[in-house]
């Protein structure tokens, strides 16, 4: 049953690629038959269904995905399904076992400052102040993109906290500061691996709003991993649901709706319900 839904979705995905959507339709990232597997080295596999030591474990199984310039893609899947591996392969931090990733038509070989990664944990350098961290990003940007650090601090509303060290500010402010450092490098693509997962619920909701404001200002292509379906429905242009291991694309939801969105009403609400059900969760209990 799983495989039949996967083929169905691949077909749907291709259909979407042929019909350019609202974002202009220039393909930014093309994932072609991307596969990843590794040889199990543990004496005792972590999961009952995994093969024994020395055997090949398949994580990603021939994933095809086209992402258009300026598109906001949410990757959703159960824990351990291979979302992070997929993102790492696309970003160039890991090498795929088969297939390839093209960004702007060029195969990805290594990470690049044009494509920034944000992790779940705060990756601000703790020995630098917030402003100095942002300066690091500015230095790495092309000379014509450089703007003073204050501008980026203002962008994320941290103008009073430039002289603070990362351990002196809250988790949410840390995320914003890191986002500012990332944006200072003026990347084309943002990869975000559960960037807000470590924050409390309220802060996470505020982060969604900040993200929307920032994205309205500077349109980037974004691949975003989340477990929070509400976050996905609120922000994404498309939600890509991955199956359990080996991960295939199980379903893609299109969300061609303008912001602000009420995620409980109308078509959006219906899609939200479907997405919950697709993940095996009943939204109405």
């Amino acid at each position: 049953m799983e495989s039949s839904s996967a083929t169905l979705v691949t077909a749907a995905g291709n259909a979407v690629n042929e019909a350019p959507a609202q974002t202009g339709g220039v393909t930014k990232i093309r994932v072609e038959r991307l596969g990843k597997s590794f040889i199990e080295r543990r004496k005792r596999p972590r999961r009952a269904e995994d093969p024994g030591p020395g055997q090949e474990v398949k994580i990603l199984d021939a994933i095809d995905l086209d992402i258009k310039e300026g598109e906001f893609i949410m990757l959703v899947g159960h824990s351990g399904c291979g979302k992070s591996t997929l993102l790492n392969c696309i970003a160039g931090f890991e090498r795929p076992s088969s297939g390839r990733v093209l960004i702007d038509g060029v195969p990805v070989a290594s990470p690049s400052p044009k494509r920034m990664f944000l992790f779940q944990e705060n990756a601000l350098f703790p020995w630098l102040t917030v402003a100095e961290n942002i300066e690091m990003g500015i230095e790495a940007a092309a000379p014509e993109d450089r703007k003073p650090a204050e501008e980026y601090l203002q962008l994320v509303g941290l103008e009073k906290f430039g002289d603070y060290y990362p351990h002196q500010i809250s988790g949410g402010m840390g995320r914003l500061a890191e986002l500012a450092r990332t944006l200072a490098m003026n990347p084309d693509v943002l990869f975000m691996d559960e960037p807000f997962a470590a924050l409390d619920f309220m802060t996470r909701c505020l982060m969604r709003e900040e993200m929307l404001n920032l994205m309205a200002l500077m349109r980037k292509t974004i691949l975003f991993i989340t477990h929070d379906l509400d976050e996905a429905v609120q922000l994404a242009d498309r939600i890509v649901i991955l199956s359990d291991r080996p991960a295939r694309i199980q379903r893609i939801f299109e969300l061609p709706f303008p912001h602000p969105r009420d995620i409980t009403a109308g078509d959006i609400g219906r899609i939200r319900k479907q997405a919950y059900l697709e993940m095996g969760v009943n939204p109405i209990i």
Binding site: F93, P111, S112, P113, M116, F117, F119, E121, A123, F125, P126, W127, L128, M136, G137, A140, Y165, P166, H167, M185
Partner: protein
């Protein structure tokens, strides 16, 4: 407070103990070490007066104070302290200059690490004292063998700690740094060094302590100055009070050295690591 407390009662041993406890706890914290120090001195002096041990083999505190007066007045205490500090400083600085770059290199370069780390680990547990014959053969007498021993004693802990600090940098920072596009020398200076600095400072503290420990042993051979020499020379002259004075001076200078390096740990861009240790 209930009514029973209001009735005057004879002072029981329990309440005396309690009031003493209360007094101890309410006094400022700085009183605690001073108090303990005073108690040790008082017990020591009391035991000497009571004749519990022979003051020939172990002098009383008051005798030590008059001995200290003597070495301060004839200038030996200052001269010898400076001589010891000079050897420690030179040996330790040399070790810092060689060990930290080497540790960074070993921690950064997996091939070098695999090749040289076992060698370092093998040399590390050999006491610097075991090197004394070698030091004397190589460097003869004077400052140089002592400096060599201090260098050795501080070199291994520094190199090993720096290398392990580099291998233990949070991968997240390295990943962020590569993503920002830092490579090679810039990556080392901008990320690897600051990320390891807190651990390096801890190892600086430890190695300075070891260097100071070793200087005494080093000065027991082949030199005619220094606090270690004061101790060995006074023992030969059966001046046990001056032996104690030498020990006290070593302890006091050791504390001051440690305090000095500790101040580095409170620099603003170092504070992030304090909670982790």
């Amino acid at each position: 407070m209930n009514r029973a407390d209001a009735i005057p009662q004879p002072v029981s041993p329990v309440s005396l103990w309690q009031s003493l406890q209360h007094l101890l706890l309410s006094a400022p914290r700085s009183v605690r070490p001073i108090g303990a120090f005073a108690i040790v001195l008082a017990v020591w002096q009391g035991a000497a007066w009571l004749g519990l041990f022979s003051t020939q083999s172990f002098p009383s505190p008051l005798a030590c104070v008059s001995g200290m007066r003597e070495v301060i007045l004839d200038g030996r205490l200052v001269d010898y302290s400076i001589a010891s500090l000079f050897r420690v400083t030179v040996g330790w600085y040399l070790a810092v200059l060689v060990a930290i770059p080497l540790g960074l290199l070993l921690g950064w370069h997996p091939v070098l690490h695999d090749a040289l780390n076992p060698f370092l680990q093998f040399l590390r547990p050999i006491s610097p004292l075991a090197w004394i014959p070698v030091a004397m053969l190589w460097f003869g007498i004077g400052d140089r063998p002592a400096i060599f021993l201090i260098f050795l004693a501080s070199f291994f802990p520094l190199a090993v700690a720096t290398a392990s600090a580099v291998t233990n940098i949070k991968k997240l920072y390295l990943r962020a740094a590569t993503n920002i596009g830092l490579k090679g020398f810039r990556l080392i200076v901008r990320v690897v060094l600051p990320a390891t600095l807190p651990s390096i400072i801890v190892s600086l503290r430890i190695s300075a302590g070891i260097a100071w420990l070793v200087v005494v042993a080093a000065e027991m051979i082949a030199v005619k100055s220094g606090l270690g020499f004061l101790i060995i020379d006074s023992r030969n002259a059966l001046r046990m009070d001056l032996v104690i004075v030498g020990m006290v001076a070593i302890g006091a200078i050791g504390i001051v050295l440690d305090k000095g390096i500790r101040r580095l740990e409170t620099l603003p861009n170092m504070r992030w690591a304090i909670g982790k240790q």
